[in-house]
Assembly symmetry: D2
Homo-oligomer: 153 residues x 4
Amino acid sequence: MPAPDLLAGFPLTLPWPVAWGDMDAFAHVNNVVYFRWFESARLAYFEAIGWTAAMAEGGVGPILARTSCAFRAPLTFPDTVTLAARAVDLGEDRFTMHYRVVSERLGVVAAEGEGRVISYDYRNARKAPLPPAIRAALIAFEGSGLGAGVSET
Amino acid sequence: MPAPDLLAGFPLTLPWPVAWGDMDAFAHVNNVVYFRWFESARLAYFEAIGWTAAMAEGGVGPILARTSCAFRAPLTFPDTVTLAARAVDLGEDRFTMHYRVVSERLGVVAAEGEGRVISYDYRNARKAPLPPAIRAALIAFEGSGLGAGVSET
Amino acid sequence: MPAPDLLAGFPLTLPWPVAWGDMDAFAHVNNVVYFRWFESARLAYFEAIGWTAAMAEGGVGPILARTSCAFRAPLTFPDTVTLAARAVDLGEDRFTMHYRVVSERLGVVAAEGEGRVISYDYRNARKAPLPPAIRAALIAFEGSGLGAGVSET
Amino acid sequence: MPAPDLLAGFPLTLPWPVAWGDMDAFAHVNNVVYFRWFESARLAYFEAIGWTAAMAEGGVGPILARTSCAFRAPLTFPDTVTLAARAVDLGEDRFTMHYRVVSERLGVVAAEGEGRVISYDYRNARKAPLPPAIRAALIAFEGSGLGAGVSET
């Protein structure tokens, strides 16, 4: 397991195996794989706060508006990474996720990223406030670590 | 363009660019990419015979029951492949697709494959005969090349 | 964990998380993902018998000549699958791998597959007998379960 | 073809087919696909300025340090996108690429992105100035459109 301090402040952590096929012709994990990993962390976070089930019922779900990744150290097979996610800058109809990828083999942060998540009413095709139950679950899940910009509407 | 005789008998051909990211750590196009290519040829075939639109209306669509690939020559970026597909062994509720991948750069067949396609009623969750209009369109699209096993039910 | 009898006879088993992004527009795990999973099981098997390290030293490594998959039950996120692999039909310069994918959530075999693996001398660009140490390690790893066609050359 | 003004200022443009398998369970092109497309545009750009061949000879090649994408409009199969890339902020050992994805079917910019490219000496494992011939080829390829921050070292 990676050093706990590399994951401090992230309420969601998820171990994930590096596949041999994640590597490209440079024999390093390809850049697009990190965004698939961010997505897996994001979806695990949504499961944790109940948004997946709530979306099926109410039709209000997440849209990814923008995302980014900074690559810190190249990864190779075999390895296991820990994917980590937390929410910051919680607004009425949006928040930002911070991601971190920690390599078990290297013992370092291999990548960090961000994603802007918008709450969207799929039935009426427009932005919508975060459902109150989801908002409350997110705040509880983050505990005292929720980043700057929280507005308790 | 590849030599026409390498594509003889395939009513559906589709040029497709090889991406650098299709290569793996052995610096050849990874095996899973061929199945994505087969899928692209299959979907182009379904578009050609109108099954995509018909499925949206009637709820009877294709399921892939099994698939295989024989790799003939390794591929590298940059290249453009021609994806080819045809139907054989047409049954009441199924047919088999033959696939071929031809490399423009090498001028050879890089891979051949098969896929068993089952006609499925998604609304009632069971196999269903091919819709007659789709069956007729498939036979017309294949022309005289349709393989053995055709049963004109 | 899946019922052990679904994995009986497979010396290599490997748990693997289903990613949300493994699903396609039909909201099931896409067919190409199974071949990535087979590859992960295959590479884990090669690690187990020491072929990865031996290839780096001696230049004789595996090539995948053909592969296939039969889809038994559709998979969805979230789930964890167990990937299983074993070798059969061991020849002088080749063997066949059998793969199985077992769903933890469904408790069933979701897919079965095969892959023909050829031993290849990458430095001299031709088929080559399996290195004796790898052959011995494979037979020991399989134990009494090694399938028909073994020829103890 | 997309409206030319959506691609103005991009010396590299590349048509690319949307695969059915690029869509995820929301039935839109998945976010990771855009980064694969950016990579394809980036590699085509490197081919255009001769960096791929030069890297094989001299050992100095590109590393992707960070990348981002802003999603403007969801995409679906079938469609063809035009991938576009240009270089800005050319430094001694780095530059930034701007990417654009234009949908033929929608006639709009579907996504925009950036990537920070570092020139790296793979043989000595450290940053290295852009090879002069590559630097000259990049400037010539961009013509008068090269963005702010160019330092003609």
